[in-house]
Symmetry: C2
Subunit: 331 residues, 2 copies
């Protein structure tokens, strides 16, 4: 049924070895043979079976990007960066989603263990760091958009603590003293880091930390809306709110706008990620911008480099972030 290299060889009147050489444009093959093989390939509509090839070479030239979901649109820039870097070395990037389930994340890592891909990039992993760290000893794994507290694995991310500090400090610089924080219940390293940055900024400005000003929720807009409602119901209202994601901020601003609170004056907002909608939603949101494309590009470059050596690079790279100032902070 299926056309194999043997059929091509027969049709071209050469051996399979010669066909293989032509297909991989190796030297040591006459122009004549090249022609014959190409003609046969064309005629038969042959395309080589990668399973055979990959098995023989023990290499697939594919890298798997494992991601919670594709919902966060800003991942798409990261993926573009990954693709561009992969292309240079002839790799393809495949994506698989875990639905934020650690068990499914492990299942997908199975593609690495079973050699269906050469390497894996975990984008904001859900598995615990010990597990990941252990795995990375035997397999080519890198982390992107997060770092691990155990730092013996290749990570490409930003300095989230510093970013949290910068955003909060900016609000303080605007004369704000009661700064709310909306963050996630689930303790991802990046969330924790951003919160720590928030705390450090308060401390640096001699503002006492008030746990009432912190609202824990999900990663979505609804959390923002509820968080804003909760914070604004406090006897002592905040005058600014820092959220660990733009989506949350937009949800929060929606609440403010609908309740006649003047955003950018009565209440300042600072988001995180600079998603596309953050400059379309009015008032426009001030936010921390991550170098998404660059993080993706970098992590693949480093990972591919690691695949070529026995002395893998296990550093954590922190790429520079920046503050984008818009109407939500009165700019």
């Amino acid at each position: 049924m299926n056309i194999t290299i043997k059929d091509v060889a027969k049709a071209a009147n050469v051996s399979v070895a010669t066909v293989s050489r032509v297909l991989n444009n190796k030297s040591n093959v006459s122009e004549e043979a090249v022609q014959a093989v190409n003609r046969a390939v064309e005629e038969l509509g042959y395309s080589p079976n990668f399973l055979g090839r990959d098995l023989r070479k023990s290499e697939t030239k594919r890298i798997l990007a494992i991601i919670g979901s594709t919902e966060q649109s800003f991942y798409s820039d990261v993926l573009r960066g990954m693709q561009d870097a992969a292309f240079v070395d002839g790799y393809d990037i495949l994506i698989a989603t875990t639905r934020n389930d650690p068990e499914h994340e492990m299942h997908l890592l199975g593609m690495l263990f079973s050699r269906a891909v050469d390497g894996v990039v975990l984008l904001a992993p859900k598995l615990d760091s010990k597990t990941i760290s252990d795995l990375s000893k035997r397999y080519r794994i890198a982390i992107c958009l997060e770092r691990l507290d155990i730092s013996d694995i290749l990570c490409v991310t930003i300095d989230n603590e510093r970013a949290g500090f910068d955003a909060t400090s900016y609000l303080i610089g605007k004369g704000r003293r009661r700064i709310g924080l909306i963050t996630t219940e689930v303790r991802s390293q990046s969330s924790v880091d951003r919160e720590n940055g928030y705390m450090r900024a308060l401390k640096a400005a001699n503002i006492p930390f008030d746990p009432d000003l912190v609202y824990y929720g999900d990663y979505d807009a609804d959390t923002g809306t509820r968080g804003c409602e909760a914070l604004m119901s406090l006897p002592n209202r905040p005058d600014a709110i820092f959220s660990i994601s733009d989506t949350i901020s937009i949800g929060a601003m929606t609440y403010a706008v609908q309740h006649g609170i003047t955003v950018g004056k009565d209440l300042l907002f600072f988001g995180f990620d600079n998603i596309a909608y953050s400059h379309m939603f009015i008032p426009r949101l001030s936010t921390v911008e991550q170098p998404c494309y660059l993080q993706g590009k970098t992590v693949i470059e480093k990972l591919i480099a690691n695949m070529k050596t026995d002395e893998p690079d296990k550093s954590t790279y922190m790429l520079p972030h920046s503050l984008i100032l818009r109407e939500s902070t009165g700019d």
Copy 2:
């Protein structure tokens, strides 16, 4: 270096055949052997090489979803549906992005030709329909979120013509007579269908079609902003705008809001897709909702069914859409 089934066999003092049988929990193997093999697997940290397995079985249990980019967040629901359906039959869904480049789309289809995956779902393909149709004769391909004008390939989509008709008719029902259309330059079938629906609705209401009221652009918010600006600069302004995507609508509304046009009164907006932000952006956007999850689930179910038979189903399935009415149409 790598642990193979042979090493396990040696450690368990059985043959590779027995190990294989245990691993695939076949019958005909003694409890004793099962124990020994499992122990050896555990000790050695063995996991089977899928390349060998897949080659032998000529089956990978993987389906590739090819997509322009993950930026459109509403794809994530489609993918969830695909995953859920795939899981039932033990398949994994892999995703790859084309950056909307037909050439790269073809490159990714190579994974199908070369048997690295068992089937492919094209989400809104960029390749011309003739090419796709030809390919589908030899390989297991399905289309989702689009249909092909050549209808000899499995498609799961909605009735975009009807949806365009419904949205436009709704605006007409609100007493509007000058209805703008913002659509895409690139002639995807779904865009064309939606436009045709728009035209048919006008005709049904005896409203003459005015080509000045159609703005062609990209698929993004910027297009909406520019489109709205262009349409509102006409001597004879529109009183409603239908866009073929929510992202465009939101961009358009941004322009309106910023130029003191009262959305939902002076100007009505109707979008398409019901993306998450469409109910967060104020005023909230009326839109056509596609059954994303269901389309994803259905296409995989049908595709897997096709993989099991020699008489593949080549139908086009149109799943029901619905109108979501919000403030942007004065509801």
